[in-house]
Subunit: 658 residues, 2 copies
C-alpha cells in the first residue's frame, strides 16, 4: 500500500501544495503558512483519492463536500483548487488576500468555486459539516439513497475542537450516527499563545469516543497510514475523527513546530531555507512542476467520470415522483402551490403569534417536503413541530429535529442544511437565546443563505421567567446585522405573511420574532390587510380628518396603537397607525412608498416596542421602549410597569402635540 505514495511525483505534489501556500502568504505579506504546510499530505490524499469531486462542476449535487474548518489555512484550499483544476489560476494565488481576488483571507462561499461554506470563526466549519452530513442523509433517506450517498469531509484544527459549538455538534452527530461525516484533525500541539499544553490537555480522542464516534490516530506525514484510516472511516457506520499528529510549518528548518509559523509569513530567509529543505530552488516562487500539474489534474478526468455516472443515474430516476420533486426545487425554486394551504385567521381571536406560526408551518409543510424543522429542546413552546411527521432519530431522518439544548450548534447545523440543494431549514428557540447562536446567524447572513429562525417569547411579555429569559436588546442587535431580515408580526395574519416573506427570501436568513402571550387578531375588514407586511411597514389604520399624529408599533404593541388611536380620534386628533413589523423589508421599498406611509411632513410620531428604544430615532422623535432589563412577574403587570399600554401611547402623544 505504502508504495503508491512513495512515487516521486506524489512527494513532489505534496511539496508543491506546501510551497504554493507559503509563497502566497509571503507575497501577500499576510496570512497563515504553517497549517497548509502541515496539512499538505492529508489534502493530497483527500482531493486525489477519497473526495468524489468534479473540478469543472463544483455545484454537482452528488459530490462529496469538503470544508476547511480552520479557514485561516485558506492558502491550502487555494493550492488544492488550483492544482486539481478548478477555476482558480496561478495569478489568483499570486493575488492572495487582495481586494476583489478569488483568494480571500478566509475561504468565502459563493466567492470562490469549490468553497462549500465560509469558514474562519473557529468551530463553525465542523458544525456546519454536521448539518451538511445531515442534509445528505436526509436526501438519501427521503429522495434517493444512491444519488445522495455523498460524504462530508472536514479538515480541522485544535481551535475548532476547543470551541463549544463543535462539542455540541459532535455530540449530536455521534447520537445520530452520521456515518457520512469524517473529520481530519490536525493535532499540531501549537496555538497562537504557544504550546497547546498551555490550555488544552484533554484527551480529544477519548472525548469523541464518548460522543459515539469512530476514532483513529495517525502520523501526519505517513500517507499510507492516513489513507488506511480514511478508508476505515468511510466504512464505519459512525462519524469518524482521524487524529493526525502533524507539525505546523512542516519543513521550515527554524519555524516548524513553533507558533511563528502560524499567523505570519515565514520571511524571505526562512522561506528560502524551506525550499532548500524540499530540494527546490530558493530563488523561485509559485513553482508548479509540469509533472505535478499533470498528475494532479488527473482529478479532472476522474471527476468527469464520477459525475457522468451520477448524471446517468439521475437521468434514469428523474421520472420517479420524489426525484422529480427534488429536481424542481434543487436550484432554489419553491415547489408549485407551496403557499396553497396557509391558514387565515378570523378577527378577534386571542392567539399568540407563536401559535399562528405553528399553524403556518403546518400549512406549508405538506406542500414543501424539503422544509425541515426542529428546536433546541423547546418544540412544544416554540410551536415548531411538523405534525404527523417523524422525529429525526439515529438512522431515521425525520422532519422534526431534536437539536437538544444546543442553540449554537443548531444555528451552524441549519447553515449546513441550508447548503443542501432543495432543503429549507427552520428551527426554534427562545428569542433571548438567539445570542447563543448569534455567530452562526452571522455566518448565514454573510453567506447569503436562508435558514429561518423561529424566535418565540419575544419580550417581557413572557412574564415570570424574568430578566434572564426576557429579550430587551435583541431586536436592535439583530436589526444591526447586515443581510438579516427581522420580522415581528402584530397578529396571527401578519404571522402567516411573515412566513411567506421568510420562505420567499432565499438570499439571507430571516428571524421571526413571536410572542408567547395571546394577541387579538386584527379585524382586517375594518383595517388594512396583513399583506402589507410584505413591504415591511404599512398604514394599518388611516387617520380620520387631517393627519396630525402617527403611532408606530410592532408585534404585541400594535394593539395598543389601535386602541390609542380610538381614544385620540374620539378627541378629534387625526391619528394614523403604522404597523412596522420589518425594518429591513420597509427599507428595501422605494422612497415614495416609505414617504407615503411615514409622510416626512408629519413629525409628530410616537413609536412603541417592548424592547430597547435603541435605533428607533430613525422613525420617531418619541419612543416608548426600555433602557433596562426586565423583571420576574406576571406579564400583564410587567407590561403596565414598563409603560406598554394604550394609555401611555395616548399620554405620550398628547405631550408631543402639546
Amino acid at each position: 500500500m505504502s508504495k503508491e505514495f512513495a512515487l516521486p511525483v506524489v512527494r513532489n505534489s505534496v511539496d508543491t501544495i506546501r510551497l504554493l501556500a507559503a509563497d502566497a502568504v509571503e507575497k501577500a505579506n499576510s496570512g497563515h503558512p504553517g497549517t497548509p504546510m502541515e496539512a499538505a499530505p492529508i489534502a493530497y490524499l483527500l482531493y486525489m483519492k477519497h473526495l468524489r469531486h468534479n473540478p469543472t462542476n463544483p455545484d454537482w449535487a452528488g459530490r462529496d463536500r469538503f470544508i476547511l474548518s480552520c479557514g485561516h489555512a485558506s492558502a491550502l484550499i487555494y493550492s488544492m483548487l488550483h492544482l486539481t483544476g478548478y477555476d482558480l489560476s496561478l495569478d489568483d494565488i499570486k493575488n492572495f488576500r487582495q481586494f476583489g481576488s478569488k483568494t480571500a483571507g478566509h475561504p468565502e462561499f459563493r466567492h470562490t468555486p469549490g468553497v462549500e461554506t465560509t469558514t474562519g470563526p473557529l468551530g463553525q466549519g465542523v458544525a456546519v459539516a454536521v448539518g451538511m452530513a445531515m442534509g445528505g442523509q436526509y436526501l438519501a433517506q427521503n429522495v434517493d439513497d444512491e444519488l445522495f450517498d455523498y460524504r462530508t469531509w472536514v479538515i480541522c484544527s485544535d481551535g475548532d475542537l476547543m470551541e463549544g459549538v463543535s462539542a455540541e455538534a459532535a455530540s449530536l452527530a455521534g447520537h445520530l450516527r452520521l456515518g457520512n461525516l469524517n473529520y481530519l484533525y490536525l493535532d499540531n500541539k501549537i496555538t497562537i499563545e504557544g504550546d497547546t499544553a498551555l490550555a488544552f490537555s484533554e484527551d480529544v480522542g477519548a472525548r469523541y469516543l464518548a460522543y459515539g464516534w469512530h476514532v483513529e490516530r495517525v502520523e501526519g506525514e505517513n500517507m499510507a497510514e492516513i489513507d488506511a484510516a480514511m478508508e476505515r472511516a468511510k466504512n464505519d457506520p459512525r462519524p469518524s475523527l482521524i487524529v493526525a499528529r502533524t507539525h505546523i510549518g512542516q519543513g521550515a528548518p527554524n519555524k516548524q513546530d513553533t507558533h511563528d509559523a502560524h499567523g505570519a509569513p515565514l520571511g524571505a530567509e526562512e522561506l528560502a531555507l524551506t525550499k532548500q529543505a524540499y530540494n527546490r530552488s530558493p530563488e523561485e516562487s509559485f513553482v508548479v512542476p509540469a509533472e505535478v500539474a499533470e498528475h494532479m489534474r488527473s482529478c479532472l478526468a476522474r471527476g468527469a467520470e464520477l459525475e457522468k455516472a451520477w448524471q446517468q443515474q439521475l437521468a434514469a430516476k428523474q421520472a420517479t415522483p420524489v426525484v422529480a420533486d427534488w429536481l424542481a426545487v434543487a436550484n432554489g425554486d419553491l415547489p408549485a402551490g407551496w403557499d396553497a394551504a396557509l391558514p387565515e385567521f378570523a378577527a378577534g381571536d386571542n392567539k399568540a403569534t407563536r401559535q399562528a406560526s405553528g399553524a403556518a408551518i403546518n400549512g406549508l409543510a405538506p406542500n414543501m417536503p424539503l422544509l425541515i424543522g426542529g428546536s433546541a429542546d423547546l418544540g412544544p413552546s416554540n410551536n415548531t413541530e411538523i405534525k404527523g411527521e417523524r422525529s429525526w432519530l439515529p438512522g431515521q431522518s425525520g422532519r422534526n429535529i431534536h437539536y437538544g439544548i444546543r442553540e449554537h450548534a443548531m444555528g451552524s447545523i441549519m447553515n449546513g442544511l441550508a447548503h443542501t440543494p432543495g432543503v429549507i431549514p427552520f428551527a426554534g428557540t427562545f428569542f433571548v437565546f438567539a445570542d447563543y447562536m448569534r455567530p452562526a446567524m452571522r455566518m448565514a447572513a454573510l453567506m447569503g443563505i436562508a435558514p429561518i429562525y423561529v424566535l418565540t417569547h419575544d419580550s417581557i411579555g413572557l412574564g415570570e421567567d424574568g430578566p434572564t429569559h426576557q429579550p430587551v436588546e435583541h431586536l436592535a442587535s439583530l436589526r444591526a446585522m447586515p443581510n438579516m431580515t427581522v420580522i415581528r408580526p402584530a397578529d396571527a395574519n401578519e404571522t402567516v405573511e411573515a412566513w411567506k416573506a421568510a420562505i420567499t427570501n432565499r438570499q439571507g436568513p430571516t428571524a421571526l420574532v413571536l410572542t408567547r402571550q395571546g394577541l387579538p387578531t386584527v379585524d382586517r375588514e375594518k383595517f388594512s390587510g396583513a399583506d402589507g407586511l410584505q413591504r415591511g411597514g404599512y398604514v394599518l389604520a388611516a387617520e380620520e380628518g387631517d393627519l396630525r399624529l402617527i403611532l408606530i408599533a410592532t408585534g404585541s404593541e400594535v394593539q395598543h396603537a389601535l386602541a390609542a388611536r380610538e381614544t385620540l380620534q374620539a378627541e378629534g386628533v387625526g391619528t394614523r397607525v403604522v404597523s412596522l413589523p420589518s425594518w429591513e423589508l420597509f427599507e428595501a421599498q422605494e422612497q415614495a412608498y416609505r414617504d407615503e406611509v411615514l409622510p416626512p411632513a408629519c413629525a409628530a410620531r410616537v413609536a412603541m416596542e417592548a424592547g430597547t428604544s435603541f435605533g428607533w430615532e430613525r422613525y420617531a422623535g418619541s419612543v416608548i421602549g426600555m433602557s433596562s432589563f426586565g423583571a420576574s412577574a406576571p406579564a400583564g403587570e410587567l407590561m403596565k410597569h414598563f409603560g406598554f399600554t394604550a394609555e401611555n401611547f395616548v399620554a405620550r402623544a398628547k405631550e408631543l402635540l402639546g
Copy 2:
C-alpha cells in the same frame, strides 16, 4: 454511614424541601416543580453537611460557593434558603415569581441573599463556577491558603452539560486541575421535548474523564451513596462530577419521570396525590413541620461557628501585607495609587489603541495585584499580557490566563472571577468574536458585575482577514445592551482614559474596542485633553468663528474628522470636532453638558464610524457608516473603498451645508 440518613427527621426534611417547592410553583401557577423534587436529597446533603456556609452572613468571604446552574429549579434554592435560616421567609416563598418578591423566576444575584450568581440560561452556572473555583484558587495561592480554601459546588442538569459553554469550561477546569470544584449532575433522562434519548446519548461520565475530571455515579435517592461520593469529591485533586441518576418529579404518582413535571405546576390533583404519597395531608400547603424547622436551622449554629473560626484566622493574619492588601480591596475599593503608573503618550506617534491598551495594563498591574488578565489564545494580538507575571498553569494561579480558543467559557469564567472578592478580571479576543461570548456578557450586565473586555481588531481596519473577522454590527449590538459600557478610544491617550473608566466602573461590564492598526496620537496641546473621555464625548477641537458644522467620530475615524476640519476651516466653515468614544458615559452626563458639546441649535452634523450606521440617528442627521459586511484586502484600501476618509467627511459636510 447510611443510618445517619435513615432518621425520620432527615426524610421529613427532604420531603419538606420537595413539597415547599411544589407548593410555590402551584400557587404561582408558573414554574418548574420536577427538578426541586428530584434534587431534594442532594440539596439536603449539601446545605446540611458539606457546604460551609453561614445563613446569617451570605457574604462571608470564606464560605463555600453554591450555584444552582439549572436556574429554572429556583424553587429548590428558595426552599433551602428558607429552611436553613437565610433571610427569606415563608411568605417570600408564597410570593414566588411575583413582582418585587425575593423569589424571582430564576435565582438573581444581589436580589436574594444566598444566591451567588444569576442563573437560568443553561450552561452559564457551571461555567461561572469554574471562574469561582479559579478565583478561590487564586486567592489561596496568592493571598492565603487557609483563608481561601473554599470550594465551589454546583447542581446542574443535562441542559447545562449539553451547552457548548459548559464543555469549554470543563475542558479548562480539567486542564487546570481545579480540585475545589464539584458538580452534582441531575441525570434525570428528561428534557422538554421528551426523553433525553431523543437528542443526547453520549457517555457524559466518559467525556468528563477525557477532560481530566474525577467522575462518580450514584443513585439520586441513596443519600449514603451520594454523601460518600461528595466526600471523595472533596478529597480528589481533580474537579469532580457526580452523576446522580434522579427522577424528575420524584414522588408524583403520575408525573414522575415525565416532562409534564418539568415546566408547569403539578396541578391540584397530582399535587394532592404527591402529598399523600409522602404521607402528608393533601389539604395543607407550605407546611414546615416543627422538627424539620428545628433540624434544618442547625445550619445557623454550624455556620456561625465556621465563620467565627475563619474570622479568628483572619484577625490573626490581617497584618500580613498580602492579607492587608486583600482586605483593602475585598469590598470593591480600588487600591491606593492604582493609577499612579499609567502611561502618557506624546503626540504624533503612530500607535494602535491595542498597543496603548497593553501599556495601560502594564501600568495598572503593579499597583493592582488582583487585576487578572488573559485572552482566548490571542494574547500577542490583543496585547493583554501582564509582563513579568506568570501564566496560569495547572497548579499555578498566575495572572495571565490562557483561556484557549474558548471565548464563551472565557466570558462566563470572567463572571466567576468577578464574583471573587477583590478580583478584577480582564481578557481579550477579537471584537468580532464578542458574539461568541455575548450570552456571558449579558449575564455580567444583568448582574451588575464588572469584568473588562479587551476587544481588538475593531473594524475593517484589520484588513486581509476579511469579513469573517471584521466587526460591522458589533458596536451597535453592544450599545443596545442595558448596563454595558462600550468605549472606542480615538488614540493612545484616550485608551489610557478608557482603562481608567473601566477600572472605576464597578457596577457593570466595560467593553474596550481597540484598533489593530496604528493611529496618530492626537496633539493634546493643540486640542482638548483626553480626560474628556470620562464624560463619554467632548469637544476635541473647537470651531473657529461661528459654529456651522459638527463632525462626530469615534476611534480610528477621529483622525479624519480632525483633518476634515482643517480643510473646512481653511474654507471658512466654523467646524467643531466631537470625539464620542462612549455613548453610555455621554448619556450619563447632565443635559446641560450634552447640549454644550452638541448644541441643539446646530443641526448640521456628520458622524463617521467604521461600522454600521445603525443607531447613529440619535446624534447626527448624516452618517458615514456601513450597511454591508466588509471584504478581504489591505486595510488602507478597504477604508477608502467604504468611505472612511477625511475627503469623504468634507464632501458629506459640503453636501449638508448646501
